[in-house]
């Protein structure tokens, strides 16, 4: 089958087949990453711009390595958060980059929907590297890839996502992806951070971590954003950690071979007790290296779709 999306904006608009194709392609890209000379010419002569409106060393570096392994010319454009509301508009900035020859724009933006605005108004191929509270497709794809690698499948798995679902783009993308590939998805967190309408996405809602974790094959812990504690979502980080932090005790009800994942960076002692974080660290590092392969696959498929259009 051929991939027909020139832009990769979110998992919500991809079919199960398309998601599987990205994961399969990532397998061959992973093989490239294991060679002595880790480079293929797929994007030779193509200028890719990483347009980041939020600081993100990890995601940006991962994208950059993926781009370079595909032989693209890479342009990094990092703007401060305040430039979203002041100065040049997003469209003007992006048009400038296009004028410099960028034909692929990877965008990370604090406001939901920003990549859609670019996709509508520009000719470039747009890759969403995380928009507001909306989607973070490359993170979800690498989570899916990692789960598939460890468990050998996704269909039928019980996957629990823990934490701030309301503001999490990682959660949204993962819910779409996991449900489409046939997993049973549960979301758990304080009721203030679980959107009341998430049921539509076919995820089951829990407010009690032990209950949610019963029989779980995979637990995905979301990073709690420290700034949220200033708000009125929960009383304190200490209390959050007591009810929704993952400890060995709470993990007892899960499947014996349960896999704990975290998109990083971890707040040790808050989302994860330190021992769990240590146990999980090999998976978390796997996630990081798989991230490069998955992003290479995204570029490869989007570029071929762009050429066919």
């Amino acid at each position: 089958m051929s991939f027909k999306h020139k832009h990769i904006l979110g998992l919500e608009e991809l079919t199960a087949k398309e998601i599987t194709l990205i994961l399969d392609t990532a397998e061959s890209m992973k093989e490239v990453s294991e060679r002595d000379i880790k480079k293929v010419p797929a994007l030779r002569g193509v200028t890719v711009c990483n347009l980041f409106y939020e600081p993100s060393t990890r995601t940006r570096s991962s994208f950059e390595i993926a781009e370079k392994r595909l032989s693209a010319d890479v342009l990094n454009f990092t703007l401060s958060h305040s430039s979203v509301t002041k100065g040049e508009t997003l469209l003007d900035t992006a048009r400038n980059l296009e004028a410099m020859g960028a034909s692929v724009i990877v965008i990370r933006h604090p406001l939901s929907g920003a990549p859609w605005l670019l996709a509508k108004e520009l000719n470039s191929s747009i890759i969403n590297a995380g928009d507001g509270s909306h989607e973070h497709p490359s993170q979800a794809l690498l989570d899916l890839f990692t789960i598939r690698k460890i468990k050998g499948k996704i269909k039928g798995l019980k996957v629990v996502i823990v934490g701030d679902i309301l503001h999490s783009r990682v959660a949204r993308s993962n819910v779409w992806g996991l449900v489409k590939l046939g997993a049973e998805v549960r979301v758990v967190g304080p009721p203030t951070l679980i959107p009341r309408y998430i049921k539509k996405a076919k995820a089951k809602t829990f407010y009690n971590l032990e209950e949610a974790i019963k029989g779980a094959d995979v637990v995905i812990m979301l990073r709690i954003q420290m700034e949220r504690q200033e708000s009125v979502y929960f009383p304190s980080l200490r209390e959050y950690s007591r009810f929704y932090g993952l400890t060995r005790e709470k993990l007892k009800g899960a499947d014996r071979d349960v896999t704990v994942m975290h998109p990083g960076p971890i707040n040790r002692g808050i989302e994860l007790s330190s021992d769990i974080a240590d146990d999980a660290s090999s998976v978390i590092l796997d996630q990081v290296s798989n991230g490069i392969a998955v992003r290479m696959a995204m570029f490869y498929l989007a570029a071929s779709a762009g050429r066919n259009q």
Partner: protein, 427 residues
């Protein structure tokens, strides 16, 4: 010059008229309904308009318009706003005070009315602010603005959060017998919300504005109106909860009236689609049940008027990230065909619909408009309810083009708009 409108279906809910006939306009007034027209035809001093197959009704009245002048002339001016109104069949419009400077004192009111007299082609009635600068703290110069020509007060767009200030406003306006118009919204509940809180906002990762943020304030305002005995008008009702609260209040005898916009009875939050900023307004487009409830409210009289909340914004302001785009859409040039859809769908009779756009909104603010009574100023619209049209934003007379209805195929074409006996639009 006289005008004879010949052979149309005259619908004037203010007099209970619905039938074929002729209307004669002389010296800017409705002169008579002549039985025969022969003696006028061929008279060079009489312009004859053949209205066969068309509806002749009082010119439409919109009690919720943002003309943007003074201060935001790049969005709209009094001149272009009036032209947009005329093209939509409106002969009287009521403009909100959130200009810059805010219309919170008589000198701004006088400026608006002077501009309207010299450049406006329809009747313009200003609304004054409730509080100075629409800041919700101290009362604006309500008495002086009333003397200068304001027909009501509102802090539209900026709800008065302090209940005591609202109480004093509702007491004070009774000296002038004008209503308080409420943009009912609890700002704290709305937070940084940009669209209706529901499945769509959850999917799009946009912060939601819950229906409760409107319902809570409608409830407060009704309670304060009961306390003070004031006339209260609820602007742009968007939720099933508000409709329920207003219905019950009316039953108890509270002096409350209410309006609904065409976009709230036509669209739901699904229209936001993929971050379409032309579907971003406040109150936001709601769910299916809310849409059904406001239509039911129009039907049973809970909602008195259809008003557009015409809110022009420039292309540049709307072509940004959804969160950063301003709230609001233009509405004057789409209101009539959208309202006719309610008739086509069987929700309202044509008479009810015209009433919601003429005498009924006029009564909310005691404008004395929306009628074809003999001796009154001749404000008339002639339209073809059956003619198919395609909404084309490029053809809008408004300076702004921010409409979610661009490209829609609808029925209802305005043929003539007449203000004080002058043809101000023909199409």
């Amino acid at each position: 010059m006289s005008i004879l409108i010949k052979g149309g279906r005259i619908i004037d809910p203010s007099q209970g008229i619905d039938g074929k006939g002729n209307v004669l306009i002389e010296n800017g007034k409705i002169k008579s309904y002549p039985k025969t027209t022969k003696k006028y035809e061929g008279d060079l001093d009489v312009k004859v308009i053949d209205a066969k197959g068309k509806i002749v009704s009082p010119g439409l009245v919109d009690i919720h318009v943002h003309l943007r002048e003074p201060g935001f002339e790049h969005k709209e001016t009094i001149r272009t706003g009036c032209e947009s109104a005329a093209a939509g069949g409106f002969t009287s419009i009521v403009c909100m005070p959130n200009t810059n400077p805010v219309n919170d004192n008589a000198s701004v009111t006088e400026y608006i009315l002077l501009k309207a007299r010299t450049e406006g082609i329809v009747n313009v009635f200003p609304i004054g602010a409730i509080t100075k600068g629409e800041l919700g703290e101290t009362l604006a110069q309500i008495g002086e603005m009333y003397e200068a020509g304001c027909v009501g007060v509102s802090d539209d767009g900026m709800p008065v959060m302090n209940s005591k200030v609202m109480r004093h406003a509702m007491e004070y306006v009774q000296a002038f017998d004008i209503p308080v118009l409420s943009h009912a919204e609890d700002k704290d509940l709305s937070g940084s919300g940009v669209m209706n809180e529901g499945e769509v906002s959850t999917q799009l990762g946009l912060t939601g504005i819950p229906c409760a943020s409107e319902d809570v304030m409608v409830s407060r305002d009704i309670t304060v109106a009961e306390l003070t005995g004031s006339r209260l008008h609820i602007c742009h009702v968007s939720t099933a909860g508000s409709v329920r609260l207003i219905r019950a209040a009316k039953k108890r005898g509270v002096k409350v009236t209410a309006e609904v916009t065409p976009h709230h009875f036509i669209l739901t939050d699904e229209a936001v689609g993929r971050y379409d900023t032309n579907a971003k307004m406040n109150p936001p487009l709601r769910g299916k049940k809310d849409r059904e409830a406001v239509i039911e409210g129009l039907k049973d009289g809970t909602l008195d008027a259809i008003a557009t909340d015409h809110a022009p914004h420039s292309e540049d302001e709307k072509k940004v990230e959804f969160d950063l785009a301003p709230f609001g859409i233009v509405g004057l040039e789409t209101a009539l065909p959208l309202s006719l859809k309610l008739v086509e769908d069987g929700a309202l009779t044509i008479n009810q619909m015209i009433s919601k756009l003429t005498n009924s909104p006029s009564d909310v603010l005691n404008l004395g408009k929306g009628t074809l009574k003999i001796g009154e100023n001749a404000d008339v619209v002639i339209f073809d309810p059956e003619q198919e049209i395609t909404i084309d934003r490029e053809s809008f007379h408004s300076k702004s083009k921010n409409s979610p209805f661009d490209g829609w195929k609808l029925k209802g074409k305005v043929n003539y708009t007449i203000v004080n006996g002058e043809i101000v639009y023909s199409g």
